[in-house]
Amino acid sequence: MSFVEYEELIKEGDTAIIFLGHGSMFPVQVQRGAQTQTKYGVIRHSAHLIGQPFGSRVTCSKGGWVYVLHPTPELWTLNLPHRTQILYSTDISIITMMLELKPGSIVCESGTGSGSLSHAIIRTVAPTGHLHTVEFHQQRAQKAEEEFREHRVDRWVTVRNQDVCKNGFGVSHVADAVFLDIPSPWEAIGHAKDALKVEGGRLCSFSPCIEQVQRTCQALAEHGFIEITTLEILLREYNVRTANLPLPDLGGALDPLPVLGEAQFKIGVPLKETVGHTGYLTFASKSLF
């Protein structure tokens, strides 16, 4: 397995996603001789996982079963150990498209945080692109580097442990795109401009508060960025259910409908509670002049 390439069979050292149903899942590092406990019983890595195809059903000791899935950035986002607040796939999708990321893109990112977006970027820019990611928190930077190695994507990413607002991204005039998810992005706009290619590029900044957005937009305009747009994307999820509406009794015989007692139909109902706000996304283009 690798996060940038599908493989058929599970092998030692892989990260696999154990899927228990109802959207509940967790990641495991596959290891010879290791065991993982689930409520359906134990999963023995040597017997149940190694050499099996991804997507197969594993029957556990108590007779229950789980599925074992190939890792993807989207599954990782749902299962990674949080070291910070993370970006979810809804925001990641629009960021990836609006930054025009594709194989071969050179991208600068700060902060690395828990690496949720980093994995998605690496997936998109491989095999010919590269990610330069900056994290000022030493432990987090180290942990991210470790994870990239474990997931066999370290070839496509360089982690730098420095303060992006003071020292920038550690590269200049190489990036096609820059992404900022830091408390004071307006302090890093100059460095972002310097990191972007001479012939231009795209920038995105993620901020939860509108005041941060205001300062960022002002800094972007001052540094000559154009096409400045701010947007917000919201996910609406639906449960598929069978609904029943009892038919009213209007006093019998005159009713033209065959009296069923109730009417049944399939519906998609919005979840009772859902995410209302993650953050504002501000996009801009570096101009040529």
């Binding site: 149903g21 967790f26 498209m97 194989p103 071969g104 205001q214 154009i226």
Partner: protein, 512 residues
């Protein structure tokens, strides 16, 4: 594009443009390039050709002067339809005007009366200025000077006034490189019917949920003018393969053409007719001579790129076109000269040599047959890395049969303009089995105006962007897969990880 003439003033070296060797001068506009014109928030895709008249936003001009300039250069339309490159500074200052020094301005509008006489210039005066060929910005300046109420307006109102007049009198056009971002925004604004009203944020979700990346073997079934196909091709960067399923005579790829992909991207793009899916699934597929289809598909191929002309038609015509498309699933036949991606085509058209044309036609037919057999073989391996469906057909039968070609543990995404068919598709996929983590979702997009003391949401987009059903394939237990029942001996293996897992009520997502 390969084979484009090298005659930009910068004289870039003729390098082959392929995935492995990007052109050194990739950021320069060349003759024959597919580009996008941008004015404010309006886009239009065109191909650069010398002495070709282009109409855009009620103006006409020639694109000759853009050749050799960098992508992202801004031009002004001058008399005679010529484009003059413009320094960006002016645009920046207009963006910056809200942050710039204070001018003379009023505090509120208590004394401003609408008597219709505040503008001293008459309609005729303005027309005279325009006819003289006076620059747009100077006309705006004149309007401000001749407005008696301008100085009494608040600073914000002044900004707004200037912006409005600039939009009307200054014709500033930027030439940008095509991308999924630009083309999907353009299509949603201009031709939403052709892409089944798929909003660009919905397309973005599809590309991510489908884990589209280099090296994949993808199955794409779309009737979105080739926009979804182009988006998938862009994300795959020429690595891996794509099998496009098409209804009718051939795939429509008008939007795909607008991306201006290098030829190498098309080497691993296959197409397979939807009408033969069942025979492929039950093993009776044979590539007997293609019926008269191939004739259609040639005409379709010739019509790839019609969008370039389509977008020049009037809104009314466009509507009719959309109706037409819905009625006979062929792109509207336009008879405008479009440079085909294959030069030999054009030669034939020009020479009009019938015999050659027939030979060419037969060669094409043979080639098409060969490609179809290759596509069938690829599908038959039943190990595709993903499936994307976005069409005007009911999604359920498409999903049920096309999922057969997908390997286990791979994502799939189904788009539909309406929610109800996806509710049904969800139910049917549950019955079929072999899929988990089914999710029915929709995204909302909100744009903001961000200005000092004037920040607020711009417009709510909702309802029109379409819905998605996504999920992951797994080994289908209903097909009696060999469950890996392992002899459970008590081993002395250490317990590596103990995990507490949330309670969930049944073994696998059974709905109440």
């Amino acid at each position: 594009m390969e084979g484009a003439k090298e005659d930009g003033p910068a004289g870039c070296g003729a390098m082959e443009n392929s995935a492995e060797h990007p052109r050194q001068q990739d950021h320069l506009i060349r003759d024959g390039d597919f580009v996008v014109l941008k004015r404010e928030d309006v886009f239009k895709a065109v191909q650069v050709q010398r002495r070709k008249k282009v109409t855009f936003e009620k103006q006409w001009f020639f694109l000759d002067n853009v050749i050799g300039h960098s992508y992202g250069t801004t031009f002004e339309v001058s008399s005679g339809g010529n484009l003059q490159p413009k320094k960006m500074m002016e645009e920046i200052t207009s963006d910056m005007s809200c942050f710039s020094e204070t001018k003379e301005a009023g505090i509120d509008n208590r004394n401003i009366v609408d008597d219709g006489k505040s503008q001293k210039l008459t309609q005729d005066d303005i027309k005279a200025l325009k006819d003289k060929g006076i620059k747009g910005e100077e006309i705006v300046q004149q309007l401000i000077e001749n407005s008696t109420t301008f100085r009494d307006k608040t600073e914000f109102a002044q900004d707004k006034y200037i912006k409005k007049k600039k939009k009307k009198y200054e014709a500033i056009i930027t030439v940008v490189k095509p991308s999924t971002r630009i083309l999907s925004i353009m299509y949603y604004a201009r031709e939403p019917g052709k892409i089944n009203y798929m909003r660009y944020d919905t397309l973005a979700q599809m590309l991510t949920l489908g884990n589209i990346h280099a090296g994949n073997k993808m199955i794409v079934m779309e009737t979105c003018a080739g926009l979804v196909l182009g988006a998938v091709m862009e994300r795959m960067g020429g690595f891996g393969s794509i099998i496009q399923m098409y209804p009718g005579g051939g795939p429509v790829r008008a939007a795909t053409t607008c991306f201006g992909f290098p030829k190498s991207f098309f080497n691993s793009l296959y197409e397979f007719p939807l009408g033969k899916v069942n025979s492929l699934l039950n093993g009776t597929f044979s590539s007997q001579a293609l019926p008269s289809e191939s004739k259609d598909s040639i005409s379709v191929e010739e019509n790839n790129g019609t969008l370039l002309d389509d977008l020049q038609t009037s809104p009314k015509e466009r509507e009719e076109n959309i109706v037409e498309v819905i009625e006979n699933n062929h792109p509207p036949q336009e008879t405008m000269e479009v440079i085909s991606q294959e030069p030999e085509y054009k030669e034939h058209k020009e020479r009009g040599n019938k015999k050659d044309y027939i030979q060419e036609f037969q060669r094409k037919q043979e080639q098409q047959k060969k490609r179809q057999i290759e596509a069938a073989a690829l599908l038959n391996e039943r190990n595709a890395d993903g499936l994307i469906i976005a069409s005007r057909y009911h999604p359920t039968p498409l999903a049920l049969s096309l999922l057969e070609f997908v390997a286990p543990s791979r994502p799939f995404v189904v788009y539909c303009h309406y929610k109800e068919p996806l509710v049904e598709c969800y139910t049917k996929l549950r019955e079929r089995g072999g899929v988990i983590n089914l999710r029915l979702s929709e995204t909302w997009l909100r744009n903001y105006q961000v200005l000092p003391d004037r920040s607020h949401p711009k417009l709510m987009m909702s309802g029109g962007g379409g819905y998605l059903l996504s999920g992951i394939t797994v080994a289908n237990d209903k097909q009696k897969s060999e469950s890996c029942a392992v002899q459970l001996q008590k081993t002395e293996e250490p317990v590596a990880k103990k995990r507490k897992v949330q309670e969930s009520d049944s073994t696998l997502e059974d709905l109440p």
